[in-house]
Amino acid sequence: MAEAPKIPQIVRERLQQDTSPAGVQHPDFDLLTGFSEGALPARERSLVSSHLSTCSSCRDVLMLGQLGAAETGEVAKLPASSASRWMAFRWAALAACFVLTVGIVFFERSLRERGGTATPAELTASAPVVAPSREEAPKTDADRAAATLASTDKPARDKLAPEKRAQTRLAERRFAPPAGYAGMKENSVGRPFGDTQNYGASGTLGRLKRETFPGKASDSYSSNSVAVGEVDRSAQMQPAAPPPPPPSVALDAISPGAAISGTRAKSRSITRLEARQTQGPAQLTPGVSATNASEASNYADQAAGPGLAEQEPGKKKLADESVPLASQMASRRVLARDDKTAVAQSLAKSPASAASNFSLENKDQQEALTSNSEKLATASPTPMQWRIRGGKLQHSSDQGKTWNEVSIPPGVSLRAFWSLGNSAWAGGTEGSLFFVTEAGTNSVRIPIKVDDGDISQTVVSVSFSDEQHGIITLENGQILQTTDGGKTWQRH
């Protein structure tokens, strides 16, 4: 604290002369106490302070009383001075600025990672969509990884004129959901997912789809619709693309291939319905009422808007050609089933592409999917179905009537899996990753080794395009990729 100013000696002496006036009535104990406790009204306070300024005896009593208060721990709580209030406000303002700056930096970074620098208009348009949140964090990482995986398609996108690219990005941000949104949309009929592990994988697929099919979306539908719109533009701009292999259509696929193969869909559920319509008459699984089926059909009919044209086969092929990995991965993706309800089965032309991939332990998710699957029940049995229950991987070869547990070492709790028909990849706690083959009878633990040692974090998401190529997401958001069936892993 700065040294107090000096006063002229004459002032000191005159003050001294003022002190201890004789015959003056001293304030009583009550007034002195009230003064020291700030309990007196202004008038009395002024009188007492005037007296105190001239009476050293009363000043002594007051100060001694304060000493006693300090001893008893009854020191008055001092009100915060304006200076300290300002200090607090200043720090708060500083903290707010810091948070804002960090937010902007991260936002711009995420935009750059999506490709190119965003214009202010894009920033404005996309700001509410990509606003980061805690729940979405793992999703973003998964998206990033998926985008990397799909980078083989980036050149096609880069071929677009700059303005077209900007339009594409803008369209993606306007219509494509933010990180995490794709996963929620997957069961758009029911409630959104709440499980991070599923977010990661589904977000990956959503991102794959968006990254793979650049183009200006022409409608304001959900992510799947955007994907279709993007496919349109992409196909139109790349007429010289070689013919694609026949698309594999999964019942629950959110891949553009699936969307293209059927009528246009508003959501993923609708895509499933459409896929079913394309494949032939619906086969209701046991436990699903006809009412539900008809509701589902109605829903599908409503979803196919008048402005949505049928995909031309050529375009579909072009699109599939441009996204081999994404379509393969997405087409294999099927929603999980619940024990109590009928199961929405994947409709696959090849056994390898039809598999169930996600098992949901969360009750909300199960309920959501139950309502979803009840409406959208389809037929076409699959050779093998997989799910996770109680941290264990289970498989069924009789459409979910009976489930057999895959033998895994005790103490490991599985969180996510990815099926490849009769084989599956499953990851869980303590960096465990298993490759299950021979229809669930044989499981091999694959050590996840990176340059700086083994991974011990929980695997929250697993995605494989085939037995050699895949990515996993760890609980800390880290993405690892393998191209040799898990022998080596690279970070992203």
Partner: protein, 312 residues
């Protein structure tokens, strides 16, 4: 008092009943009427005769009625009230005494002596005179007890100083101590300067004057003053700085009004004989040869320096 000698009721009955209930006076055997009388005493002491209802209400609202009821019940000799009082305030009183005296034994003695006064061992006109009967509830009872304790300590200290025997003084070596130089007759200062200073001090608000006196005369710390005024230490520091500046400004303007030029007024304030006397004494005591003193001498203007020497 009215003309007829009958006390006027300044506290409305409803308000008295409400405060009586709030203070739980019945718990200590006090009736509403008895408590209303206490309230009347308080109002008579602190309110002017022509106080409005609003002032009465304001006063009553600030009263510590619960502690007031307890203290008055103790003064009246209610056993339950004494039990409560001792339970609540015994430790507080000893701690406060320890804080004031800084000596365990003397603190206990001080607190015990106060207990005697509080209980009312003295009898006035056949009635027990308890010190708690003078508590009016303007501040907390604990604070009031501390203030009473502090006053008691000051009284004892003064009495003890008067009672120091010659033997004790001899033992303490008082007679061998170098007597402080007798202050010479205060040099005749400029009457105009004195008048200007008095006027400036009179114009200061009471609180600022209190801060000046506590800091410069009693040499209290900023923290102590701040605690007594329930403000932050930095507030006192700022006020002190501001007051000193404004005081100087006011004195200079008063001197200018008295006919001095600004420069002369500033010189009169700066070159006050008392200041110079002290500075010269410091200089002589420390020795001019020290680097610090040389620095001081160099800083001082030759004019002031010579004037100081001349005065000394």
């Amino acid at each position: 008092m009215s003309a007829t000698g009958k006390t006027e009721n300044r506290i409305p009955a409803a308000l008295a009943a409400e405060l009586c209930k709030k203070g739980c006076a019945s718990k200590y055997g006090m009736t509403t009427t008895a408590f209303a009388l206490v309230l009347e005493q308080v109002a008579a002491k602190y309110l002017p005769a022509a106080a409005s209802h609003a002032e009465v209400r304001e006063l009553c609202a600030g009263l510590r009625v619960e502690e007031l009821a307890l203290a008055r019940a103790c003064a009246a000799g209610n056993d339950h009230a004494w039990e409560v009082f001792l339970t609540r305030y015994r430790a507080t009183l000893y701690d406060a005494a320890r804080g004031i005296v800084r000596d365990e034994a003397r603190a206990k003695e001080l607190a015990d002596s106060l207990y005697a006064d509080l209980y009312g061992l003295r009898v006035n006109g056949g009635e027990r005179a308890s010190k708690l009967g003078s508590y009016m509830g303007r501040g907390s009872l604990a604070g009031w007890l501390r203030t009473v304790l502090a006053q008691e300590y000051v009284n004892r200290y003064r009495a003890a100083r008067r009672l120091v025997s010659l033997e004790e003084q001899t033992e303490a070596g008082v007679q061998f101590a170098v007597s402080a130089p007798e202050p010479s007759t205060p040099p005749a200062s400029d009457a105009r300067l004195e008048a200007a200073t008095d006027a400036a001090l009179a114009a200061l608000p009471g609180e600022e004057k209190y801060i000046l006196a506590a800091y410069y005369l009693d040499e209290r710390t900023l923290a102590e003053i701040a605690r007594s005024l329930r403000v932050h230490e930095s507030t006192i520091c700022r006020k002190l700085e501001k007051t000193a500046k404004s005081l100087r400004k006011t004195i200079i303007s008063e001197l200018m009004r008295a006919g001095l030029s600004r420069q002369a007024a500033e010189e009169a304030l700066e070159a006050d004989v008392r200041d110079l006397k002290i500075k010269v004494r410091e200089r002589l005591g420390a020795g001019e040869s020290t680097p610090k003193m040389r620095e001081i001498v160099q800083k001082r203007t030759p004019q002031t320096f010579h004037a100081g020497e001349g005065q000394e």
